[in-house]
Symmetry: C2
Subunit: 581 residues, 2 copies
């Protein structure tokens, strides 16, 4: 460590991280994604602004040479960890269980953007092609780039709309996972021959075989091995979280080294390792959170901020290109995903909502664009267009889904939107005896015997199966186990409160103290979404939950729900989704 | 990011982290400090072993050039964060409150090693001096190097021996903090002129003034400012931990840049920022833990492993020098600290225990040695000798303190060592009403009215004051509030159980469910230590605690304590301290 280089490195790091976090928070405050603020940092501190105004200061703050290499060590580590975090979101269990209908949507959701990308690739003038001037590669890349989805953005949007655990929500998540798996594989494979600038069939085949083998080995025997190792590490109570953290980091770096060595990009290794590790039930929420926090707050901002340090966004901004890329990307995803969803039996509103949800590209697209630019496959104009498209599609997702799924005319049917009335017509248990989610479901189900008679047994079976499929803890102390029940004419709810809380595997790791058991008539996706959202909204704020938790009788509970219902009736939940990665 | 360099970097990182964590855990398993395994990694993979056996493989795995610079970006970031974590351990409140007696010990604990270092510095042959060949600087550095203490090692040792919250324990901790503050300041100031190889008075004065100003500004107005900012960040419930993480990282990098820029080393900035931030009560235990986990498991191992990558430990091992440094270091610290402790009124056994505790140098000494070697102030032989001394003194601390404080002959007084008898002669509350530590203390104190009569009031005041001074939550659900009470002839205990738990600010953040109120005759340090240890040991294992928590009557409680007392009577608590940083 030489004094001067260390100083440059530390100062550049402090500046990038500090400004990126500040601008990120500002962006979030005005409803933009965090990543927009982080990218803006590079625009301000890079050639676009600072270098124009104070070239000497810019060169002093971000020198080339050793200090730049030190910084690139940091950003390399960052991007691999970023993809590990992305991989951690993949839940192979859900993909397996929800596979059939998801496959249709995913296949169309990849095929249509691929077509769009190819069209785009062959329509653009030569001047837009990257340094390689290889139109086939460029078109293929654009196809892959348009097919990617932003799993974290989608997950957050669904959570905020109260749709995360609905069938529509699960479908969207599963499709996004499949899209991401296929997209990153395809992209990584393209990067190999890309580097040379020509597609050599032999190299391409070798790369595909190696990448596929790597992914299969990791995701099947590797996943079981990791699960076993994590189990062994967990059993040693001392220092287990620390050991697991090291284990994940080493695996990620090894995976990244391997994929880099076989000629595909390091990020694929990180991504696959993330998926391999994240699937293990033994990876505790706490460990996941620790990794996530460090990556989001210490590594990712510097990575995104450093991007625009080397690109002049003003000079490279091509309005026509930006609009074309945005329109093609959105149309292709909408046609593919909404069409696929319609084929699986969803209504057109739900299908379009699925399309807009999956249209969000988020930070993943930006990472892809950065790597493609580094590989000289795209020039700065296409890069800027892809970044703009990523931000734009992410911004569009929440409001469009909200508009489609919470359309005003549907709200006229007051009964469905009224949590209080549903509970009043259903059942209420002020203090659940159950300590597990299965027992809580049974206890609530039995309480509905008067209401639904002999449908209780089949209803319980459906709900328990649905719960096994994907647990329904929403976080914030609330869980809504639910299922469609053959023979039911209208939605039925039983509400139970639990002082000690019952674990419903919520994303925030907290046990549920408010449990709504919801039974729905079959094939009523619209109802499902709206009733679920109504229930979730009725306990949206902490005050409403605290008031409800004090209820001792059905009257108390109904009264509490009515009171808070009135207050929020006309408010649609704010989407925080856009504010995140 | 160029493909080949990225690969080299990622592979080197994976190898260093993986091997260092493996060897670290192995070292821990055989009772050695973690850092020994991490250092061994560099020895195995560096010039000492791998380069001797397979020079080509070594150069391939750890190339020079860009990849090496990328790795050095990672290790630079690591060492700054390492010092932040060290700084976080500094509790300025304790230093202020415990200042008087601690100052004596700290002053002597710095003066004696300084004398020892100077003697050593002027006695060694020319050949041992570093490249600068400046004997004055070398002697000053050795003085500073011998005066440093390893706060984390000391804290862990005290925790394991059940002494952390005793007066002896607090004294040792406070002295270690003072030693560290002074030592790191002095070392950083020395590094400035060191670089030139000559001591220029003007530069030295400038450096001292700047460093002192920096430290004072950070630790007084800065500390309050940080506290205010953390408070503001805490109040925004969304994403607060993430924001605080970023804030701490940016502050650390800025502090490090500043100290580096004014000609002292970056690590001082990290250390001072750590102390400034760590003192804030608003820094939640969770955030502290997240930082600590990432540093210990992702950053520190690579830093320590990369050290020996550039040093040939076999060629540079000078047995005579190692022994001399070890002996001088130990003698100087023992004379200084044990002497100082004796002056403040401790018995000789306790004083010697204080001396051995503060003699532990741990990883801090190793960091110091690394930086001095990089500044070319010491050569590889002195470097190896300092590392050996650091490991040796850390290994010695636990066993020596144990031997001195738990001497068998003292155990003959069975009464004192018998938690069961103490509780039997005292009081028992099976279910505390109190929900705060102050109320719990009062409740337990009132229960002793029959036993100690009118001493209850003064006793309560002493215990409450003592609790304010430093909370007595030991962790693992146990708290032992205690104080010396004028007029008391023998130790008196009241035991209270609490289902909900009472917060005694334990290091593990968990509320206490088992609370021993312990009143002691004044000036009985030996008793204090032994009774406290006896109480702590009586609930050492989880089974003992669970059995005790089921007690409904005094008889149940005494029976439970007796039963588990028999089982562990002859076991002395195992020190885990040595196994950590």
């Amino acid at each position: 460590m030489h004094g001067h280089d260390a100083l440059s490195f530390l100062l550049a790091l402090a500046t990038l991280l500090g400004v990126a976090r500040l601008l990120g928070e500002l962006a979030r405050a005005v409803g933009l994604p965090l990543v927009v603020g982080e990218l803006l940092t590079g625009i301000l501190l890079g050639p676009t602004v600072l270098k124009r105004l104070f070239p000497a200061a810019q060169t002093w703050l971000f020198p080339t040479g050793t200090a730049a290499d030190m910084l690139s060590g940091y950003t390399t580590f960052s991007v691999v960890l970023l993809l590990v975090v992305a991989g951690l979101e993949i839940d192979l269990g859900v993909v397996r269980r929800r596979g059939r209908s998801a496959l249709t949507v995913a296949a169309l959701g990849i095929a249509m953007p691929l077509v769009g990308g190819l069209v785009l690739g062959f329509a653009v003038p030569d001047s837009v092609l990257g340094a390689t001037q290889n139109r086939t590669l460029f078109a293929l890349f654009m196809g892959v780039a348009l097919s990617i989805s932003a799993l974290p953005v989608i997950a957050k949007t669904l959570l905020d709309l109260g749709l995360f655990k609905t069938d529509v929500g699960l479908l969207v998540m599963t499709v996004a996972m499949l899209d991401d798996l296929v997209g990153w594989m395809a992209f990584s494979i393209l990067l190999g021959p890309m580097r040379g600038g020509r597609v050599e069939v032999a190299i391409l085949v070798r790369t595909i075989v190696l990448a596929a083998t790597f992914a299969l080995v990791c995701l099947f025997p590797g996943r079981r091995l990791v699960d076993w190792v994590l189990g062994a590490l967990e059993r040693s109570p001392d220092h287990a979280p620390g050991r697991i953290l090291s284990f994940v980091a080493v695996l990620a770096m090894l995976g990244a080294s391997f994929t880099q060595a076989i000629g595909i990009h390091a990020v694929l290794g990180g991504f696959i390792v993330g998926a391999m590790v994240g699937d293990s039930k033994r990876l505790r929420e706490r460990t996941r959170l620790t990794i996530h926090q460090f990556v989001t707050n210490i590594f990712a901002p510097v990575f995104f901020a450093s991007v625009a340090l080397r690109v002049d966004f003003v000079k490279s901004f091509d309005l026509v290109l930006c609009v074309v890329v945005f329109v093609v990307a959105t149309l292709a995803k909408l046609v593919g995903c909404a069409g696929g969803a319609r084929l699986t039996g969803l209504g057109w509103r739900e299908s379009l909502a699925v399309g807009f949800g999956l249209n969000a590209r988020g930070a993943m697209e930006i990472i892809l664009a950065i790597l493609a630019r580094e590989a000289k496959l795209i020039d700065d104009r296409v890069f800027v267009a892809l970044v703009t498209m990523a931000v734009g599609t992410s911004l569009l997702a929440g409001p469009m889904m909200k508009r489609l799924l919470y359309a005003p005319k549907l709200d006229s049917n007051a009964m469905l939107d009224d949590a209080a009335r549903l509970v009043n017509d259903g059942a209420f248990i002020p203090s659940l005896k159950a300590t597990t989610s299965a027992h809580a479901i049974e206890e609530l189900g039995r309480a509905l015997t008067e209401t639904i008679g002999e449908l209780v047994e089949p209803a319980l079976i459906s709900v328990l199966e649905r719960e096994l499929d994907a647990p329904t803890g929403l976080g914030d102390d609330v869980a809504i186990p639910h299922a469609a029940v053959e023979g039911l004419a209208r939605p039925v709810v039983a509400l139970g409160l639990s002082r000690a809380g019952v674990d419903f595997d919520a994303p925030d790791g907290r046990p549920a103290r408010i449990v709504f058991l919801l039974l729905l008539p079959p094939k009523a996706y619209e109802n499902e979404i709206r009733v679920l959202a109504a229930l979730a909204r009725s306990v949206f704020d902490a005050a409403a939950r605290e008031s409800l938790l004090r209820a001792q009788t059905l009257e108390d509970a109904v009264h509490s729900l009515e009171e808070h219902g009135r207050r929020i009736r006309d408010r649609v939940p704010r989407t925080r989704s856009l504010a995140d990665l």
